[in-house]
């Protein structure tokens, strides 16, 4: 699928972010191998891959922390190692990156100084991320989830063109994670967001594009809607037991049926209802993104 959808890094339209034949890694340990893609429209690009696939290395290379051993990373055509390019992106690592010895407010002041944001911006994100209540608490006394929220808050101190968010919702409770996703979706209407996650359901919910890595190579770059599971398995729950599901495989409360295409789902529902089944829920049981991990 990749060659068809991978837009040319040389002949495509003016790009926001271009990775052209990027190889990168650590001393004596190459991780990424000739990664090429072009990101040219605001959206959430979910970066997926098994552990060790190179997601964090890709983020670090785009952020200019790691220098590519081959190829180049360009922002609006300008190499990433220029300060003007770095000023266009926000980078949130998978670590909290919270400095010791400071309170929440002082930490955000610290970040605001780096970002050249104003004290008013600090107040705004304290309010926006609902972390004002512990603004005077030392970072070391926060829970990991609270630290993550403060860490994410700094991303919203100042607007930039590209956001690199490495597992931003890890360690967050579902409510806060959903709020963060809402903020990021809002952000992605006008900005490019590269977003890595191990939560495939979250990835499907938030991503418009998928960038999948496998063993340091680009395995897939495509729109989320084009990612299809090799097997489409539908699960059905009914309000009461019914003979309409006789012969179906059972998994917990669900009865399973494998289909060839999503187009078959409406017909399947009509068929079950015509046999008297009172449906409570119909859902896709397999996440097509799981195939990217095999």
């Amino acid at each position: 699928m990749t060659p068809e959808v991978l837009r040319s890094a040389t002949n495509g339209p003016r790009a926001l972010l271009t990775c052209r034949g990027v190889s990168s890694g650590y001393q004596n340990k190459p991780v990424l191998h000739e990664i090429s893609f072009v990101v040219d429209e605001p959206a959430v690009y979910v970066v997926l891959g098994p552990n060790g696939a190179g997601k964090t290395t890709l983020f670090r290379t785009i952020a200019g922390i790691l220098r590519p051993t081959a190829g180049e990373v360009l922002l609006d055509g300008v190499p990433i190692d220029r300060q003007s390019s770095r000023d266009q992106l926000h980078y949130l690592s998978h670590l909290d990156g919270m400095p010791d010895g400071l309170t929440v407010r002082e930490s955000l002041d610290f970040y605001a100084r780096v970002e050249r944001a104003s004290p008013a911006d600090v107040e705004r994100v304290l309010d926006q991320l609902e972390i004002g209540e512990f603004s005077d608490t030392f970072i070391s006394r926060l829970s990991s989830g609270q630290r993550k929220r403060v860490s994410i808050a700094r991303v919203f101190l100042r607007e930039r063109g590209i956001y690199l968010l490495d597992e931003p919702t890890a360690n967050l409770d579902p409510k806060v994670a959903r709020e963060i996703r809402t903020l990021i979706l809002e952000l992605s209407k006008e900005r490019v967001v590269l977003y890595s996650s191990h939560n495939l359901f979250e990835a499907r919910e938030i991503g418009r594009y998928v960038i999948a890595l496998k063993s340091g190579a680009l395995a897939l770059f495509d729109k989320m809607e084009n990612v299809r599971a090799a097997h489409l398995v539908i699960g059905v729950r009914t309000l009461e037991p019914t003979d309409a599901l006789a012969g179906w495989e059972r998994r917990g409360d669900y009865y399973l049926r494998e289909l060839q295409s999503p187009d078959q789902v409406p017909g399947l529902i009509r068929d079950l209802e015509s046999k008297g089944a009172r449906l409570r829920e119909v859902r896709e049981m397999e996440n097509p993104l799981e195939d990217l991990f095999t």
Partner: protein, 230 residues
Amino acid sequence: MAAASELPTLLGITVRRTLVVGRVSVIVGCIMVTFYSAAFGLEGPLFTSIGTLVLPIFAVSGGIGGALVFANDRTKGVLEYLVAYGLSARRILFNVLIAGLVQATIVLGVGTVAGVSSYLLSGYALTPQLPEALLTYTFPMSYLTVCMMTTVGVFWTSLSSPRAGMNSPVGVLPLIGVAPTSAALVLALSLRTYTSQVLLGTELAIAVIVLLLITRTSQLMPTERLLSTA
């Protein structure tokens, strides 16, 4: 577009954070040096001859904070963040170096005030040898020792996998900091001649080591060594 020169140095906030993170070692250092200097000050000439030679050892306890902040920042991903925004490895090194020197100054200042006060209150007249010893040995040796300790600590930390405790580079640093002063002291006391030349030679040797290390920052501490492996 912002130019590279517009990047904040973060020096002030690094110094402040170091004072918070390393406050225990500063407090302990101040208490120890106060007792030590006051006791030696009571002995008058002994403070000038021996006391001033030992004072740099106490500065080490104050100066450890810079390397401590560096190690913490690396483990927690703060350095990764700063590098992403364009702060250079050398700038980061300078910040923790100066922060360590500020802390060492506090301990050293307390020790000097305690020693000189005790010396004068004991009725001894101020001789030119005392300020001379402080200005030519105690202060420069203390600052050079802290610079060496911090630089070695930063490079060693960046080359090591993150770990805490006495087994970590920061845990071993006080021993590295104390070593030059101890060596100079032993050498000066055992030779008993050319003492000032021995002391000056030690200072010069440390200064050369520190300068060599600092000029090799980009080779000894490439950006990727600032990343946490966690």
